[in-house]
């Protein structure tokens, strides 16, 4: 009781802080915020990524949406464990194949089978390169193969990498947007490579045309 209240309070504090720093706004472009089961797949540039998605989801959807996150990060301290488990109700997977006792895909499918929607980052790791997107890992394909009835929704998170670059402790306030695009599913007989390419294209299509205003030279 106290724990769940604390979790609710912490969750509200985190989303309020997120809104203060980023004034984040959702753009539903090709998909509506309705409570059907989905896997949201997003670009990954910052630890705050799923917080922004979580913040802009209507509360009815948020209650049934769980981020898939690395256990190595979220189980490191009691505070992180509380935030990861109690606040975000994350599906925690171990990314290190040698240490883990459970297959990540098994945990992800278990999560889906409880009826929850999931948030995943198919690049597998935070993108610190200049490229807009890293090549997708196979997870997204495997999920859609195993649960073909679940819609895969591309989600582009814009500007957050500038708010909180890796290694900086203080975020700088900048406007961010979260764009949800039309859902895709793996087609019958579709090859893994073709599908992943299609998913990458669907996600990149949501990025604003002016991708890196910070880098452009306007003199």
């Amino acid at each position: 009781m106290t724990r769940s209240f604390l979790a609710w309070l912490t969750g509200s504090a985190i989303t309020t802080f997120g809104r203060l720093i980023t004034a984040v706004r959702a753009i539903w472009d090709g998909v509506e915020p309705v409570p059907s089961q989905r896997v949201y797949f997003a670009n990954h540039t910052s630890n705050g990524d799923f917080i922004l998605i979580w913040t802009v989801l209507p509360s009815a959807l948020r209650a049934h949406t769980r981020p898939v996150a690395g256990a190595d990060y979220w189980l490191k301290s009691p505070l992180r464990t509380f935030i990861g488990r109690d606040v975000f109700n994350a599906v925690l997977i171990n990314r290190n194949a040698e240490e883990r006792s459970q297959d990540p895909m098994e945990l992800i499918l278990q999560g889906l089978d409880t009826g929850a929607s999931l948030i995943i980052f198919p690049e597998g790791t935070r993108n610190t390169t200049d490229k807009p997107l890293l090549p997708f890992k196979s997870g997204l394909y495997n999920i859609s193969q195993a649960r073909p009835e679940v819609d895969l929704v591309p989600v582009w998170i814009d500007n957050l990498n500038d708010v909180m670059p890796k290694g900086k402790l203080v975020p700088i306030p900048l406007l961010c947007t979260v764009t949800f695009g039309a859902s895709i599913r793996v087609a019958p007989g579709e090859d893994r490579k073709d599908f992943l390419k299609r998913a990458e294209t669907a996600l990149l299509a949501l990025a604003p045309a002016d991708e890196a205003p910070a880098e452009e030279a306007r003199a």
């Binding site: 500038d162 406007l175 910070a214």
Partner: protein, 316 residues
């Protein structure tokens, strides 16, 4: 209840009356023309009116909360405006600490200095000290690419969003004989006249606008809108002389100065938006775009209004 409160409530009642009439017109237009919400102009009008209700409510609460409330409101407004401005500037990862310093050191310090009534310091903090310190922080990161562009835009962002905007709450600390404890009405006068001028320019322009003032910058700003809006807002400002330390003629002069400054402020900020390839500064206020879209005119007129009032009327 003292006289200031009474005058403030009279003014508030007037604004609420106008908003009720405007809401009624907006509703009637929607019912007659496009009840399904397909007419973009009417939808935009209604969104603007709704946002006006919100702004009036915020200002009223802040004014009744006193000096602290007004300073907190404008400090937050500066924060939101700076957040919009910096989003559109040329940045590099090496600017992180300089930008963080602008947000979390310079901005709070500026409003604290106003609260502390240290005029000599708050009027120099950003034009002199931030101007020198932020490039030093930036240069220490050892990244010279686009350096002049980056530091110039950061300074501009602070000047507009923090320095100029902070002249509005600074009006509270002017010492005008015979006008003691009524300074909050100066803020009300400035905001009401400048914002009404915006609305009236928009209305006159929509009704009679034919000849654009600056077609390459903002096709919606027309000579008809400018002259009609500035003239009618100046008339309203003159009629509001009783809430100010000004005579009717002085109130007319002040209104003319601040509405013209407000117009040019809008034009300058349009040019910046055009340069950056965006239509609005942000998305905070439905129907209005961002904070800066609504505040550009106030930001440009506030320093002029502050210094004219300080020079001719204030003892400090």
């Amino acid at each position: 209840m003292n006289e200031t409160h009474a005058d403030f409530l009279t003014l508030l009642a007037g604004i609420i009356g106008i908003l009720i009439v405007a809401s009624g017109i907006g509703y009637a237009l929607k019912q007659r023309v496009a009840p399904d919400g397909t007419n973009a102009t009417i939808e935009n009008l209604n969104a603007r009116i709704l946002a006006w209700w919100g702004m009036t409510a915020f200002l009223a609460v802040a004014f009744l909360a006193g000096r602290g409330g007004v300073i907190a409101l404008f400090a937050f407004t500066s924060f939101a405006a700076l957040r919009e401005f910096v989003t559109l500037t040329t940045r590099r990862a090496s600017d992180h600490w300089a930008i963080a310093c602008a947000f979390f050191v310079i901005l709070p310090l500026q409003y604290w200095l106003i609260w502390y009534e240290w005029y000599g310091m708050w009027s120099l903090l950003i034009p002199v000290y931030a101007f020198l310190i932020l490039p030093i922080i930036a240069v220490l990161q050892g990244d010279s690419r686009n350096f002049l562009v980056r530091i110039s835009q950061m300074q501009w962002a602070l000047m507009i969003c923090v320095f100029c905007a902070s002249h509005v709450p600074a009006l509270l600390f002017l010492d005008i004989p015979g006008f003691e404890a009524r300074n909050v009405l100066l803020i009300a006068f400035l905001i009401v006249v400048v914002q009404l001028s915006d609305v009236l320019q928009y209305t006159w322009g929509k009704l009679f606008g034919r000849h654009p003032v600056a077609p390459s910058l903002s096709p919606s700003k027309t000579w008809e809108g400018l002259i009609g809006g500035v003239a009618s807002a100046t008339l309203i400002g003159t009629a509001l002389f009783w809430i100010t330390p000004f005579t009717p003629l002085q109130a007319a002069g002040m209104s003319l100065v601040i509405t013209l400054a407000g117009f040019f402020g809008g034009l300058v900020m349009s040019a910046i938006k055009r340069d950056r390839g965006v239509k609005d500064w942000g998305h905070m206020i439905a129907g209005h775009g961002g904070f800066i879209d609504r505040l550009d005119s106030v930001v440009f007129s506030a320093p002029l209004f502050f210094h004219l009032t300080r020079y001719y009327w204030s003892l400090t």
